[in-house]
């Protein structure tokens, strides 16, 4: 069916994790008959296994819906999904740039959360029409009045009373469809204008090459057109156009306002960058669309294949993943302990986790990850400055004038009962109190300046446990400041293991060193000889613990019945050794490299 611009609505959904975004999306697909009930799998838009398992959205995704409205007219809705987690703000800004409106879903039992707020402000900055929806009104613990008050008074958005819904039961969800028709502006732009299409995502398909997801902002695009990527001037012949319903449906033409995909037998994955503008030779635009804010990685870690023969596979997998994840950075590095690998930059720990799991599941590569680190600014005596993303590369102390580390401004939203525990936590984490603001009589926003390195060390988990899960937080990079930092080295058998070095706050160094060697002693399995584990600062040993020599590793009894079982046992033991790396003569398991992250739990 052909639609004119007035009957197209491009929108996304903003929500905190678990507030019901994917369920609402499912319900919209069902109500518009896009997907029949029979075809429904839970949370259709979350197409990665990983997304469904964790119940989170990681990658954005787009789907087209046809809606016959109460005014008896037919509309085309393009829903562009957004991730909810703070790590994926970059993805959110990409999907918002493709839309004119956003549904803001708020859980009536939880109220507005800090991360939601951040995304709402991002939408407002992008000139999007934001439509608040209160979800889960069917639950006994729902507090619609309070939630409404938060939306209207704290965010300052008017609330339409009809939009109190339950995505789970479907209650009042049809009102959401009407609200989209009513409130979301139709796309601007003209069919006659030169082509400007925004790439908001892309993926690689072995038959079709790179497939780019686009929204046509001006003009139109047809199969057979020669397209131009405005960032690099590369030209390709369009072989396929289509829309997702959510199955791919081929079309001959995409017009202004429409959302779809384009394939052009593009084999070089680095030619297609999300945020770039596509135009075409015949109807060439003179300027690209405004791209969007590029996010810089906040944490770095080393990524090494357990099997060093898999280095090339890892490189190709990283290239494919970075195709639709511009925030993923990687460059080759070598470690004397781990061999050849990559130093990779991520937006946060969840992002790192997701990439690791995708590499292992989708590409079958077993990995060793080193502990994540932030980027330090190291000022040398000669006046130069180094961006240090790998603790083991810290120059000799005698050359260093000062080390600066990144600080963030964190906003923590919490019921007021938990102010005490949060202040204690922030203090332990070297936080600097900035401000406290009452949202209403029961909820406050605390603002702290905190070192980013402390946040990546289990801040979020602790915050959740200190507040029984009630607090939420959001942060943005504020500035680099000088800190008293030292490099903590770990020695196994007297040799410094570069992949285990970390940079720590000097006052914490002794304590961390002590706990860390104990922890490593327990994680690293017994070897044939006793192995001393030592922590050192500037070659001075500050803590030591010994891994005892292997004393027993045999099944004492091996008679008839035990024989097949014993083979299985040996094979099971081997599985356990898969993610081990031999460093010199010591076998070190993956957990050892992450030990530093959980050190504080045992202090």
């Amino acid at each position: 069916m052909e639609y004119d611009l007035k009957h197209i609505r491009n929108f996304s959904i903003i929500a905190h994790i678990d507030h019901g975004k994917s369920t609402l999306a499912d319900r919209l697909l069902e109500l518009t008959g896009t997907v029949s009930k029979r075809e429904m799998k839970e949370q259709l838009l979350d197409s990665m296994d990983l997304e469904r398992e964790r119940g989170i959205t990681i990658k954005l995704n787009a789907v087209s819906l046809n809606y016959h409205a109460k005014n008896n007219e037919d509309y085309l809705f393009n829903l562009i999904d957004t991730p909810g987690h703070v790590d994926f703000t970059y993805e959110v800004s990409r999907s918002l740039a493709a839309c004119e409106g956003a549904l803001l879903v708020v859980d009536a039992t939880q109220g507005v959360e800090a991360q939601t707020l951040a995304n709402v402000y991002l939408a407002i900055e992008n000139d999007l029409e934001v439509i608040p929806i209160i979800n889960k009104v069917d639950l006994p613990s729902a507090d619609v009045e309070r939630t409404k008050h938060e939306i209207e008074d704290n965010i300052g958005l008017p609330f339409d009373e009809r939009l109190q819904v339950s995505a789970k039961t479907g209650y009042q969800v049809e009102n959401v469809l009407e609200a989209i028709v009513e409130y979301v502006p139709c796309p601007k732009g003209k069919k006659e204008n030169p082509l400007q299409a925004l790439i908001f995502d892309s993926f690689y398909d072995s038959y079709r090459g790179v497939v780019a997801q686009i929204v046509i902002k001006e003009g139109f695009l047809e199969v057979g057109d020669t397209i131009v990527f405005m960032a690099n001037g590369e030209e390709y012949l369009v072989t396929e156009l289509g829309i997702r319903t959510p199955k791919d449906v081929k079309v001959d033409r995409l017009e202004v306002g429409e959302v779809g995909y384009v394939a052009a037998q593009i084999k070089e994955i680095d030619k297609v960058r999300p945020g770039d503008t596509i135009t075409c030779v015949k109807r060439k635009a003179s300027t690209p669309l405004a791209g969007y804010r590029k996010m810089n990685p906040m944490v770095y870690c080393g990524l090494y294949p357990c099997d060093s023969n898999k280095y090339q596979d890892l490189k190709e997998a990283l290239m494919k993943l970075s195709l639709n994840d511009a925030s993923l950075h990687f460059e080759p590095e070598t470690s004397s302990a781990l061999g050849f690998g990559f130093r990779c930059g991520f937006l946060g720990l969840l992002h790192m986790d997701v990439i690791e799991e995708r590499l292992e599941r989708e590409y079958g590569i077993d990995l060793i990850l080193t502990a994540p680190s932030v980027i330090y600014h190291v000022y040398l005596n000669d006046g130069s400055m180094i961006n240090l993303d790998n603790p083991s590369k810290l120059p000799d102390l005698s050359l260093i004038k000062e080390i600066q580390e990144p600080f963030v401004e964190a906003k923590i939203m919490t019921p007021k009962d938990y102010i005490g525990p949060i202040m204690k936590l922030a203090q332990e984490k070297r936080g600097l109190y900035i401000d406290m603001e009452y949202l209403d009589s029961t909820r406050v926003v605390l603002t702290y300046q905190l070192p980013l390195s402390e946040i990546i060390y289990n801040f979020f988990d602790k915050l959740k446990s200190y507040t029984k899960g009630y607090a939420s937080f959001d942060y943005r990079l504020s500035e680099y400041k000088t800190s008293r930092l030292v490099k903590l080295d770990i020695m196994l058998n007297g040799n410094v293991i570069d992949a285990l070095s970390s940079i720590v706050y000097r006052d914490f160094a002794y304590q961390r060193g002590r706990v860390l060697v104990e922890k490593l002693k327990n994680i690293i399995p017994r070897q044939q000889f006793e192995v001393p584990v030592q922590a050192a600062i500037s070659n001075k040993v500050i803590a030591r613990s010994d891994i005892k020599a292997m004393r027993k590793d045999v099944l004492a009894k091996c008679y008839g019945g035990d024989i097949s079982r014993k083979k299985k046992l040996l094979e099971k033991q081997k599985e356990g050794k898969k993610r081990m790396k031999s460093i010199g003569t010591v076998e070190v398991p993956q957990e050892a490299f992450m030990a530093i992250l959980s050190v504080e739990d045992e202090e």
Binding site: M550, D553, L555, K557, C558, K566, L570
Partner: protein
């Protein structure tokens, strides 16, 4: 070539707290039906050329005299002079009549479950014999011409500390047996110790006990020929050597395993299934790599280790050159040693055999 026949009798007059073999409390009606099923299973194989017969359990000696007679009738067709024939017995239900019966049916080796001599240790493990009875039974066995006797000893049982173990070993020696097996306590599911959350000895303790056992028994004329087995002169267990030499054996009875014609199988542990003729629970068809895996895994348990000539002829590969990359570092670290005839785990490292196996096999 040797070939074995193992027959399992699951019945016991009481259940030991550590035992995870297929076992059932003695119940006369079930025994009758079980022996019938056993006969049927045995006849379903074309058993031939066996060099060793081993009746284990459970507790074969828990059967009544009449039931034992029936059992011997079942195995009668396979007996011949010169066959190695072992039967496992417990002290408390062995009588002179039963011993005489065994002797008349060519039993030439008896394996006695002794485990410990300490009253306290035995009671905690739910075992019920007395030290004096052990000596009495051994004398009776000899009286009827059964001189090849093994004694089982467990170490690491609750309350069996180092001092108790030393005493147990001393008493074991005084019995002047031909063979001694010593097993480290393992706490397995489906045992009373497991339910009581009894702890296994630490690796340090286990190693300390083991090293003492090896040196003490060797000082007293027993040679360790397998990780846990010690023998005088040539009295090694012919039956168990079949297992460790990766040779074939039939396994008959509840929970028994066999290895015949490149198939390894394990029988059901469900008495009902067994009585209804559903004998085999699972089986594994071996390809050449599996056979090699088992051959290495089993032969390295032996002091003599893997016989290179035999191996090379059997599998048409040169062991040393095929496994060179794995063997060299192990040799350098002193974990294994080899000459022209055999490759073996170094004396002091048999107790970390599995570690060495993983490095060779994977």
């Amino acid at each position: 070539m040797s070939r074995g026949l193992y027959i399992h009798i699951p019945f016991c007059s009481s259940l030991c707290a550590y035992c995870d073999y297929a076992k059932i409390l003695y119940e006369p009606n079930y025994v009758e039906r079980y022996l019938e099923a056993l006969k049927r299973e045995l006849e379903s194989y074309r058993v031939k050329d066996i060099t060793s017969l081993y009746i284990g359990g459970g507790t074969p000696s828990a059967l009544s005299l009449n039931q034992l007679k029936k059992l011997f009738e079942i195995v009668e067709p396979y007996l011949y002079h010169g066959l190695s024939f072992t039967i496992e017995c417990n002290i408390e239900n062995l009588t002179e009549e039963k011993i005489s019966l065994m002797a008349r049916h060519h039993v030439n080796r008896v394996s006695l479950g002794i485990q410990s001599f300490s009253k306290e240790v035995l009671v905690l493990s739910n075992r019920h014999h007395h030290e004096e009875d052990v000596i009495k039974i051994i004398n009776l066995l000899r009286k009827y011409g059964i001189y090849d006797i093994n004694g089982d000893l467990i170490y690491g049982l609750p309350k069996q500390n180092f001092e108790v173990l030393k005493e147990d070993l001393k008493k074991m020696i005084s019995l002047d047996l031909t063979h001694i097996s010593t097993y480290l306590l393992g706490v397995h599911p489906h045992t009373r110790f497991y339910l009581e959350k009894v702890e296994e000895p630490s690796d340090e303790e286990a190693r300390r006990y083991y090293d003492y056992i090896v040196s003490y028994l060797e000082k007293n004329g027993y040679r360790r020929y397998e990780v846990s087995n010690f023998a005088r002169n040539s009295y090694q267990s012919k039956h168990n050597l079949i297992y460790w030499h990766n040779e074939e054996y039939y396994g008959i009875g509840l929970g028994a395993s066999g290895y015949i014609g490149k198939i390894r199988y394990t029988n059901t542990r469900s008495l009902n299934d067994y009585l209804n003729g559903k004998y085999i629970l699972e089986s594994e068809a071996l390809n050449i790599d599996d056979e090699i895996f088992y051959e290495i895994m089993l032969t390295l348990r032996l002091e003599e280790g893997l016989n290179l000539k035999k191996f090379n002829e059997k599998y048409h590969i040169d062991f040393i050159s095929k496994y060179q990359e794995k063997i060299k570092p192990l040799q350098k670290e002193g974990l294994i040693e080899y000459d022209n005839s055999n490759l073996r785990v170094s004396r002091n490292h048999l107790f970390i055999l599995d570690y060495i196996l993983r490095r060779i096999l994977f």
